[in-house]
C-alpha cells in the first residue's frame, strides 16, 4: 500500500497528482490516514492508531479505511501492487 511518489499533499489537505492534473480535497481524518499511509503503515497499524484516538467500532473503522484506500486507488493515487 504505497502512495505514488510524485503525489503532493499540502498542509490543508489538498492533494495534487502532477501526472494527471487531478486535484482533491481531504478532510482532517482523510489527511491523517493519508499521512499514515505515506509513512508506510499498513491497514491494521492505521486501525490501531485511529481506534485509540476515535470513539468508533472496529467494523465501521475498517470499512471506512478500506473505502478510503479504494478511493485513492480508483483515483490513480496509489502505486499498482
Amino acid at each position: 500500500m504505497v502512495i505514488k511518489g510524485n503525489i503532493a499533499l499540502s498542509e490543508n489537505g489538498f492533494i495534487f497528482n502532477p501526472s494527471t492534473g487531478d486535484s482533491f480535497t481531504l478532510n482532517n481524518t482523510g489527511k491523517e490516514v493519508l499521512i499514515l499511509i505515506k509513512e508506510g503503515r499498513n491497514i491494521s497499524q492505521i486501525m490501531e492508531l485511529l481506534s485509540e484516538k476515535y470513539d468508533i467500532d472496529r467494523i465501521s473503522l475498517e470499512r471506512y479505511i478500506s473505502d478510503f484506500v479504494n478511493d485513492l486507488s480508483a483515483n490513480n493515487l496509489m502505486e499498482e501492487e
Binding site: P18, T20, G21
Partner: protein, 348 residues
Amino acid sequence: MSRLKVTIAVTGLNNIDSPGPGIPVIRGIRESPDFDTRIIGLAYEHLEPGIYMRDLVDKTYMIPYPAEGKEALFRRLEEIHIREKLDVIIPNFDAELFSFIKLEKKLKDIGIKTYLPTMEQFDERNKSNLSAYGDKYGVKVPSGLEVFSIADLDNTLKSMNYPVMIKGKYYDAYKANSFEQAVNYFSKVSAKWGLPVIIQEFIRGTEVNVIALGDGKGNLIAAVPMRKQYITDKGKAWGGITIDDRSMLELAGKIISQTKWKGGMELELIRSAENELYLLEINPRIPAWVYLAVGAGQNIPEALLKLTLGMEVRPFKTYAVGKMFVRYSYDMIVDLELFSRLTTSGEL
C-alpha cells in the same frame, strides 16, 4: 544590451469565447527582454477585441478573408509592408495558413519572414488524413471518415456506435448521440466550414493537449502538456493546468522529429479510461492557451520569433508543473470614432 527593434504582424486577434491565439502570442513576445517590438494586428472582423487592446497592438489593418484568395492577401500585405516595413508575420488561423504557406517565398522576397510548416506537412496532418497519419507514425487515433453528403453520413453511421464526433474541416466539433443530431451538426458544420465533414469515433476520457515548437530539422524546441480543467460548450479550455506526463512529451518529440515539423503546433489528445493516448487532432499553429506555456517557463512565442529571425534557440528542458490558467472575459469601452475609423479606412 540594446533590444532588437522588430516589427511583427500577427493575426488571430479574436479574443472571444473561442479565442484566436494572437493576443497571447503578442503577450509572450512583449515580455521578451531581447526585443523592442512594434506589433501590427491583421484582422478579418471589425470587432476582433485585439484591435482595441492598444497596450498590446500598436496598429491594426483589415485583411481580406482567405476565401478571396492568396493574391488578394498578398496585395494587401504589400500595401501594409510599404507603410510598416514588416520584419515578420505570425499567422495564427488554420484557415489562413494555406495562403501564407503558398506566399512564403513571395513574402520572403519582399523582406517579410515567416516560420511555417511545409505544404506537405500541413496537408499530412489534416483531420481527414488522421487515420493514415496514425498508421505512419505509430500513434493511436480514433477511427474516422470524411463525408460529403447526408447520404454519405447515413452510410458511415451504420457502421459506427453513438455517440460520434462531427467535426468541421478547420474548426468546430460536436458530439452527436443520434442520427438526427448528427444530421443537424453535419448541416451546421458544412455550412460554416465547407466539405468534407469528419465523422470520428468518440473516445471517453480526459482531454489533454500538448503545445510544441519544431525547428524544421527534427528538433523539439519547446513542449508543454496541459490538462483541460474547465471546458466551454464550444469545447475550448477555459481553465487548464500543466502536467508532468512523459508519454505526451515523448509523443510530441516523436511527431516533431519524424515529420521535421517547422513552427508551432498543438496536439489534441484524449487519455482514455484504459490510460491510452489517442490523437484527436494536430493543429498546425500555436494554440490560444500558449500563455500558460509562457507562465510555466517556456516563452514559445519568443522562441518562435527568434527562430523566424534566424537566431539560435536552445531547446527548453523544463517547465513548471501545476501552473494553471484561468481565462476571463472583460468588457472594453470603445469610442465609436475608433470603430468608424476602422470600418471606413480599414486601419486603426
